[in-house]
Subunit: 398 residues, 2 copies
Amino acid sequence: MFKINDNYLKLEKNYLFSLIASKTKEYLKENPDVKLLKMGIGDVTLPLPKAVVSALNKAVFEMSKKETFRGYGPEQGYPFLRRAIKGYYAEKGVNIEEDEIFVSDGAKSDLGNILDILGKDNSVLIPDPVYPVYVDTNVMQGRKIVFLDANEENGFLPLPNEKLRADIIYICSPNNPTGATYNREQLKKWVDFALEEKSLILFDSAYERFIEDKDVPKSVYEIDGAKKCAIEFCSFSKTAGFTGVRCGYTVVPKELSVDDVLLKDLWLRRQTTKFNGVSYIVQRGAEAVFSEDGRKQVDNNMAYYKKNAKIIMKGLKECGISYTGGKNSPYIWLNCPKGKDSWEFFDLMLKKAHVVGTPGSGFGKNGKNCFRLTAFSDRESTELATEKIKELINKEFL
Amino acid sequence: MFKINDNYLKLEKNYLFSLIASKTKEYLKENPDVKLLKMGIGDVTLPLPKAVVSALNKAVFEMSKKETFRGYGPEQGYPFLRRAIKGYYAEKGVNIEEDEIFVSDGAKSDLGNILDILGKDNSVLIPDPVYPVYVDTNVMQGRKIVFLDANEENGFLPLPNEKLRADIIYICSPNNPTGATYNREQLKKWVDFALEEKSLILFDSAYERFIEDKDVPKSVYEIDGAKKCAIEFCSFSKTAGFTGVRCGYTVVPKELSVDDVLLKDLWLRRQTTKFNGVSYIVQRGAEAVFSEDGRKQVDNNMAYYKKNAKIIMKGLKECGISYTGGKNSPYIWLNCPKGKDSWEFFDLMLKKAHVVGTPGSGFGKNGKNCFRLTAFSDRESTELATEKIKELINKEFL
């Protein structure tokens, strides 16, 4: 008789965003005339940059003609796109070879799938609060997880702690959900720690394009030694609006090995066996993100979302709410007024302000009195939501 | 210190198609003027159907406007596409609900990833010869594999054997690589066996659209009881030319459960956690495959490839080479002349006929004297390759 993977039974039943969706749906069913302002899930609202649209159209045209049609492509991504990504790293002063770059359908897929090449008996260190995917994907494979507290005291930027050793360490900077970012000195502490402990860092840099401060690395490889201990995951989702187009990339440096087995070779083997590459059309769209026009257009989108973040931050300051993030990040992580529970605050925001945010406890115990807002909405909704939040707080908590 | 997944070290070093590619590359380096005829890898050559191209263009346009832009979609696929797939099943007389259908970036991904939800201690029955992905994905997770001989004696269609019990059973019909297809009576034997043994059938129906015979089921669910024991994997790759566009789907019926845990719920959890859905643009393209125009155009493509298969079959008959497949399948699986070893025959075909095929031993021990040709090339190459194969065989083996 066949057996299921019992580890799945250990997962928390509701995925955070599904629960938010069902609560929202229920509220809208009872209040069909209310227009909710969605400031929760990290989805973008600006359409694709023009350069991307042109590239997609061109690729579709190529696929319509026998002479230019493309079938199976390389599982690790077309050289044209890997070359563009290599160039992007070079601008950050980081030399990455094309065969260390793996194009995928998104950072979420890779962050989950990378665990395939790692042993089940690795211990895992995950900050709390955290993007739930890090936890769930490890629970699914039965790994032991140790949590590292990120809280107001350490500015949601916990540093290595010799009492909390682990084989695999997750770092997300700019952080989802807290918006906090490690500076160079802090990140160096993590890299040095990993090198000493022979730990592997899984570095999620999906939000690197939001970084403005010179002192905040955009890639973990800006830190000496990181190529010997870190895999980096990145995405076109939040910068170029690819949440519905699906493209990301993962860097596995050739310096990363265990007993002369290169991790990049294992990952290539995983991808060639269990993946067939990203749509050619999508890869051409992603390539255009690095073109001169593409860059300008993405910069404009970034400026738009950053302005949203500023509007939210100003509003929160005006009603005395403290927060982290918002500057080098699209996320604003606020402390619920008067230490309110985050799901209670969620309900209040939903019902009284008609704003949908993300309750901090969905990201871990240290988020239980926090709440995540994002800068990804449109200007009008952001302004309106900010006003409504201010009203709510002034009315209910002052 | 972090550890790799040691199971990866048990994998055969070279992935079949990579080895073919490197042998081919080497030959071309020494003989730069030779034009090789690629009759090996199962990649299509006809461009995307017009209906698909229109739908892709329309979707790209939608993504370029704020009002119609789409971000994250449902991980299991948009309702519009799942509805179309449901309708396609209904035409085969099979009732599948939308929430039993999961859209993905291809059958290869799903065939590998489905193992995530199944226990490591399941035994696995895999026919030999076989699509290497079934074997490698199980080796990666350390499962015990039992092989089932498919050979000339059983027409490459092995039937259940009580001495070969297993928890998970792979069936691919029309088969890759042999082109053999189970008829209704034979497939019923497998379903009955699985029900009795409480085994799970992983049914790969990627080539179902090539089936002409009324007696050959296009879906395992045409057999009574299959919903209680089978997951079905399908793809747009070979029919609508999506090998470079990337879209497939998997059906997990709600009748499939272990101790009241529904497999479809586990799979949904896997997909929502480790996957972010298929590109919206691609899903619109896939939807168009089921439109009236799309169907006609796909039928025309099918007719084109089927004609290729006929040309190859006729050529093989003329020089006395026996084979299976070719009729309800794009694959022609031939017996190497005079029992020649398949890699030797590969080299001979490459060097003397300038035809690249796939050596049978790449698919398992029972393929060691067989060779796979595909009907996916263009007409001209197919005709030329057939002539060259005939010449080679008449010259070298008669």
